[in-house]
Subunit: 203 residues, 2 copies
């Protein structure tokens, strides 16, 4: 990569980051190319060298931020041996995010914008599918009896919990964790009652 | 109630219904008193006899519609004996709603609006608490081992599933139902292994 390419990528990233930070402040429809240029510290005319349209820029910015939001909360779970503890850690992490956190607003704004933007919808579906795959892999590696249904249910619970916590900053994740933890039992209770340790393939 | 009061309530209901139907069409911020009056078939000047402000009207309309949306999907579950079947019926019901259904958009718009409206936030939290109580009562009446955590988890899963289904109309509820059904086992497996029928206090 030439230094020139390097600089281009950095400017593009700055533009995308500026856009992501403006969505929660101004609302999806309130983000203009001028505001993005101001925030990114570039001339307005520069934007079209980096993205085809404001729609594309908003989409890119939102999806990148949302993917990072989930990745940051899931990556650390792979060091935990017990899948129930991984679930608890995940929801504790989500509970420690301030309910006024701009990422929450960005999630809600993206959901509304997705009603009108098919490409955004597809990208958000992809990011949820990736989150499911990651958690299903984790649960499978830990010998959970039904990793698929548990992964799907944890991701639905994450989305529901985030939505509810935007409304109620004091929402307690404990009952949710209790129920999901009982699904993460590393043995199928109907077939095995020993509670023995299951080996796992991933660390 | 005098006929005069009766007429007043009817006009108010018509105004509230008109507002609820306009939110998904125009977006929360796009609903004006003129559009509401047009849709309700009343003179614009009539609105302030019935509600204090557009903010109050939007809030009333959204919360009433959301409460009805959940009530319609939960009331029918009380005839089902098996709590696992009740969960399946609930998610089948949510899956049969067209993903372009205006109620979905109204939910998403309300979530964004709640960021700026503390009273709306409180009302939405109340409606979620009511949904939880209803389901916890149902699960308790059916002898579910941990009705509290299950009720909380089902309501988080409902919200997450609705959010995900707005993005992906083909989303399959089956894995979610499978996991939640295993939590709805009417006996605590660790304490009772007989699988006997549990009597319930509510029909």
């Amino acid at each position: 990569m030439t230094p020139d390419n390097q600089a281009k990528i950095t400017t593009r990233d700055r533009i995308i980051d500026a856009t992501a930070s403006l969505i929660p402040e101004l609302g999806w429809g309130g983000v203009t190319s001028r505001r993005v240029a101001d925030r990114a510290g570039v001339k307005p005319g520069v934007l079209h060298y980096h993205v085809a349209s404001m729609d594309e820029l908003l989409r890119l910015a939102a999806v990148r931020r949302i993917r990072r939001f989930f990745k940051d909360r899931v990556d650390g779970l792979f060091i935990l041996e017990d899948p129930g503890n991984a679930i608890e850690e995940l929801f504790q992490g989500l509970s420690s995010v301030d309910s006024q956190n701009p990422d929450f607003r960005l999630l809600a704004e993206s959901l509304v914008a997705a009603n009108r933007d098919q490409e955004l919808r597809v990208e958000l579906v992809d990011s949820l599918a990736e989150l499911r795959r990651t958690l299903i892999d984790l649960f499978r590696a830990r010998g959970v009896a039904s990793p698929g249904p548990l992964g799907v249910t944890v991701v639905a619970a994450i989305d529901g919990f985030l939505l509810q916590r935007m409304l109620d900053p004091d929402l307690d994740p404990a009952p949710l964790v209790e129920a999901l933890r009982s699904l993460a039992s590393p043995v199928s209770r109907s077939s095995r009652e020993t509670g023995e340790e299951i080996t796992h393939s991933q660390g």
